[in-house]
């Protein structure tokens, strides 16, 4: 595992060497709180007779305009919708792992809900831990959560979902 820092060695000079953590807003906060518990949940309208899922989260439902919402648990199964392999110039912590993959995953439970992420070899592994030759659009993936690892490496302890290729 790269860049594993503890809270005690957090230092501003090191920030340049860390991967970015989510800058969370009110609407997105529940997603990250559930992620910290190892759950992939998506915002859904809680109005009677609606129930539409929406992502990214927002204050009200674009279908029925209700402000009532709940967070529905997803199976974590998905398929790669597209991906890129970024090369430098990049922020230092990303350049250190480049080229790495960044993917958009469409959820099996709701294909119009898509999440940006990284396909890794095992939970907590680096962004470049999977051979790019194994990536293809349509490949099945499964969400995995590891606190303070992989894309969230660093002192923040923020848990972000990662994706593992399913054996096909």
């Amino acid at each position: 595992m790269r860049d594993s820092h503890t809270e005690s060695d957090h230092h501003p000079d090191r920030d340049r060497d860390r991967l970015l953590v989510p800058v969370v807003d009110d609407d997105g906060a529940p997603f990250w709180e559930y992620a910290a518990q190892g759950e992939l949940r998506v915002q859904a309208c809680a109005a009677t007779g609606c129930g539409e899922l929406r992502f990214p989260p927002r204050p009200c439902c674009p279908h029925c305009q209700s402000f009532e919402s709940e967070w529905q648990r997803m199976s974590g199964k998905g398929r790669i919708w597209s991906y890129v392999m970024p090369h430098p110039p990049l922020l230092p912590a990303y350049a250190a792992q480049a080229p790495y993959n960044a993917v958009v995953v469409e959820l099996a439970d709701a294909p119009h809900i898509r999440l940006v992420g990284n396909v890794v070899a095992e939970p907590g592994a680096a962004l470049d831990s999977v051979d790019p030759a194994r990536l293809r659009i349509g490949a099945k993936v499964q969400a995995a959560f590891t606190k303070g690892a992989g894309a969230s490496a660093g002192a923040s302890g923020v848990t972000v979902p990662q994706w593992l290729l399913e054996r096909s």
Partner: protein
């Protein structure tokens, strides 16, 4: 209902030199471009009463107005979403002039993107939404964000790197005819393209626009006034902005069909207001921050069907003498990347008959702003 059609005209354009690094400040460059445009129009700076630019423009109206010696300003506007706002700056002034809110409008963009900071490196200013859903995963730059759509487009419609090369080559060939272009003396070959370094696979170096210091401006007045100006008027025939339902900005991954972007929305409004259609466009200036934006825009603005944009680029279609010559000054890929403003001024040059890659008897020109973000477009005619 009042209409914008041919009610106003662009009567002056101005530009500074383009370079990777210019010594003067953005403010100075802005003033030089604005004054050059007014001189081109034969209109005194004291007559300017309308201003429009981008929200990303660092030199604000107060600075421009007091520096150039403008009169009382009665209309000023800034348009958001980076290069998506380029054509809207002209559109806002056209609307203001057509409705009597101003009489002499100046739109401009000044940017030191070549020698200044890269916007994506500013991690402290990252917006909570949608950056929280993308940036931690290393989707950091516009090239990464558009690259994601590009690979999906290739997968879904069979587009290839050769199609993107066709775009890069057409722009480079026109730049090779344009002494003001950064790539004037630098031809591009397929070999160079295919062997260049990746920026964000599937996008290579030559799929990305230049990083440029420079400024441009244009002057808009009523059609009546335009007849008395120094230059042949170029009429604003139709103008539109486009923010599609459920659009998400440059990371538009979350609606039902991410590959139909803002161009489709702007196009519907643009053609609805126009006396002619895509088949009647003589030359087009299509926003080219990244090569895949051209096939997407060709589809969106109705030059071909859904998924046919890549194939449209084959057989020299985008070159001089082709089915639709594009970006005849070299565009953002090979002339200069100034948030698309050089596409507007090149459109004016074509309709004046003064382009360095002149399309014979060009009488109609489509100019588009950034695709993939909330956008805007203009139909110009002579």
């Amino acid at each position: 209902m009042a209409t914008l059609k041919d009610a106003t005209a662009i009567v002056g354009t101005g530009q500074t030199p383009f370079a990777r690094q210019l010594p003067e400040s953005e403010k100075t460059l802005a003033c030089r471009a604005v004054l050059a445009a007014l001189d081109d129009a034969g209109i005194a700076p004291s007559e300017v009463d309308g201003l429009a630019s981008y929200t990303m423009e660092e030199t604000d109206e107060v600075e421009v107005a007091k520096s150039i010696g403008a009169g009382d300003i009665t209309f000023f506007s800034k348009v958001g979403y980076g290069g998506g706002g380029s054509c809207a700056t002209v559109a806002h002034l056209a609307a203001a002039i057509a409705t009597g809110q101003a009489s002499v409008g100046v739109a401009w963009r000044s940017r030191k993107r070549g020698s200044g900071p890269r916007p994506w490196k500013n991690t402290t200013a990252q917006l909570p939404t949608p950056a929280q859903w993308t940036r931690p995963f290393g989707l950091l730059r516009p090239a990464d964000e558009i690259g994601m759509l590009a690979r999906r487009y290739m997968h879904q419609y069979g587009a290839t790197r050769d199609h993107f090369f066709n775009v890069a080559l057409a722009c480079r060939n026109r730049a090779n005819q344009n002494p003001a272009a950064i790539m004037y003396e630098r031809p591009l070959t397929r070999d160079m393209y295919m062997n260049s370094r990746w920026i964000s696979d599937p996008l290579c170096l030559f799929d990305n626009c230049l990083e440029t210091d420079g400024a441009l401006a244009c002057v808009i007045v009523s059609a009546e006034r335009a007849r008395d100006c120094r230059r042949r008027p170029v009429y604003v025939h139709s103008a539109a902005q486009g923010l599609p339902a459920q659009h998400h900005g440059m990371v538009n991954y979350w609606n039902d069909d991410p590959l139909t972007g803002p161009a489709w929305t702007a196009a519907r409004q643009l053609w609805k207001q126009a006396d002619f259609g895509p088949d009647d466009v003589d030359v087009a200036q299509i926003y080219d921050a990244f090569t895949p934006l051209i096939p997407l825009s060709l589809e969106g603005y109705g030059f071909c069907g859904r998924g046919e944009g890549a194939a449209f680029t084959e057989g020299g279609a985008l070159e001089s003498g082709g089915r639709l010559p594009i970006n005849t000054g070299g565009g953002g890929l090979s002339e200069a990347y100034v948030h698309g403003f050089n596409l507007i001024t090149e459109g004016v040059k074509q309709l004046r008959g003064t382009s360095t890659a002149q399309v014979p008897d060009a009488a109609t020109c489509l100019v588009t702003a950034g695709e993939g973000v909330p956008t805007s477009a203009l139909l110009l005619r002579s």
